[in-house]
């Protein structure tokens, strides 16, 4: 079912540099986005999590049995690293002194871009969190398909490969997933309104 992924891993195990490049180019950006959507970690920590996950993956390629898509296997490793990442973040100091000379000079140079203004970021973060919350309430393969299509911009063919389904079945699955997302989203909005007693 996941012959292409299995073959890619086989080529990597055989030391094929082009296979490694393909593996990295396809999966690293997607994993960064995957972790960003699911955590409140800062950017540097997100990068740490993804890098650690990829290093663990390439060190244990023999553990990939093609029972799921390669990306799905990587996300499972990522989840474990994410838990560790959150533990490490909790141990880090959350306050820095602006009086420190090195920090003070950096702060003086900071200019926040318009789209990074606090109001805009808060609204975007809140919207993203709500979308992720509703996605989390859908069956797993629905959420994966919607995230791959609208988050990662994958084609229907690529999603079909990832899910081990035909293109027609994937199109149909995406339609049903959107419909269920719409229902749950509307329900969540209604649920948020203060109803009169």
């Amino acid at each position: 079912m996941y012959e292409a992924d299995q073959l890619l891993v086989s080529r990597m195990r055989a030391g094929d540099q082009r296979a490694f490049d393909e593996f990295f180019n396809v999966n690293a950006p997607r994993l960064l986005a995957f972790v960003s959507r699911r955590s409140t970690l800062d950017l540097a920590s997100v990068e740490d999590v993804v890098q650690s996950s990829l290093i663990k993956a390439v060190g244990h390629l023999a553990g990939y049995r093609a029972e799921a898509a390669l990306f799905t296997w990587l996300t499972e490793i990522c989840f474990h690293e994410l838990v560790d990442g959150h533990r490490k973040a909790e141990r880090r100091p959350t306050h820095i002194s602006l009086d420190d000379s090195a920090t003070a000079s950096q702060v003086a140079e900071l200019r926040t871009p318009a789209h990074m203004q606090p109001e805009g970021r808060l609204e975007a973060a809140s919207h993203s969190a709500e979308v992720m919350r509703v996605l989390g309430s859908l069956p797993k393969h629905y959420a994966l398909a919607l995230e791959a299509k609208y988050g990662d911009g994958l084609s229907v063919e690529a999603i079909a490969n990832m899910l081990g389904m035909s293109t027609t079945a994937t199109q149909s699955l995406l339609a049903r997933a959107r419909e269920l997302f719409r229902e749950r989203w509307n329900f969540s909005l209604v649920g948020a309104v203060d109803l009169p007693l």
Partner: protein
Amino acid sequence: MTDPEVEQLLSRGLATRPANTETLERMRTAVSQAWKAAPNLAQSPATVESPRAGSRWALWGGLAIAASLVALSVTLLAIRPVVDRQIVGSLARSIDAGVEISQGFARARGLGAGDPLRVGDTLKVRGPILVALAQGGSLRAAPDTVMTVASDTQITLERGLIYLDKPPARGETRPMRIATRSGLIEHLGTEFEVMSDDHAVRIRVREGQVRFSGASGALVANAGTELLSSRAGAIAERPIQTYGRDWLWIAELTPNFAVEGRSLMDYLEWVSRELGRPLVFANDQARDSARRTILHGSAQNQASLDALADVLSTTTLSYELAEGAIRVHSN
């Protein structure tokens, strides 16, 4: 909320900042180093990226002055870097004793699931194996089969029994070929079985067509046909069933089918192909129902009539065998 609004909502909610190029390159370096140091590599990637052919040539070239050209050729064949040889597939499954692989005069070694097969490899099959082909499709081989991967489109069958399942690929210009001592078999988009030894070859076509070229000429065999040809060129042809006892040996090597989220139609078509039994629907209602029904969960021994009955028992459909075909109808 309209469909475009839902799509916009999802796109906005799932958007992330594009990964920084510098970050990705830093990460690539770290991951690449870990990959090159990984213990599970078949060989060091450093050798693959830049094989030090020059020093090897110099070493063996020196010996070649004193030795014969034949000895040099033999040596070069044995030390030929693995990277030169194209990967044509990987071992997806092996049962019992598995398979041994060798190349040139190198010592034979066992092959594990996921290991690559390359042009030039010779396989000695001890237990049944399933190979996933890089170009799509699969190859199954029975115990006591010996074959060599001659190129990305040709396998030389020294002896034994193999089964090739390779649906026609769009734009494919070079057909897959099986070379035997008694003749050459060309794949024309099909499933077929080849058994060969020193004296004769037997070809059984399950789906599609194959072209056979032997000592007495070439002919095309259609689905449901068996060809027998001797090395001298005598050919016999007879009709066969595409299902039943003769095909049982490939059943234990059936590739897995992920049931979850697939349509019942996908599953029925797959079972039909694996069992070699045509799929027919009693009416349009049954066909529509198969298209609309989405499966969840898992099924054991999926490519069997028992599994088919189990799967259909959870739907409004059932089946019967009619003249070898799987006939699906509404309850």
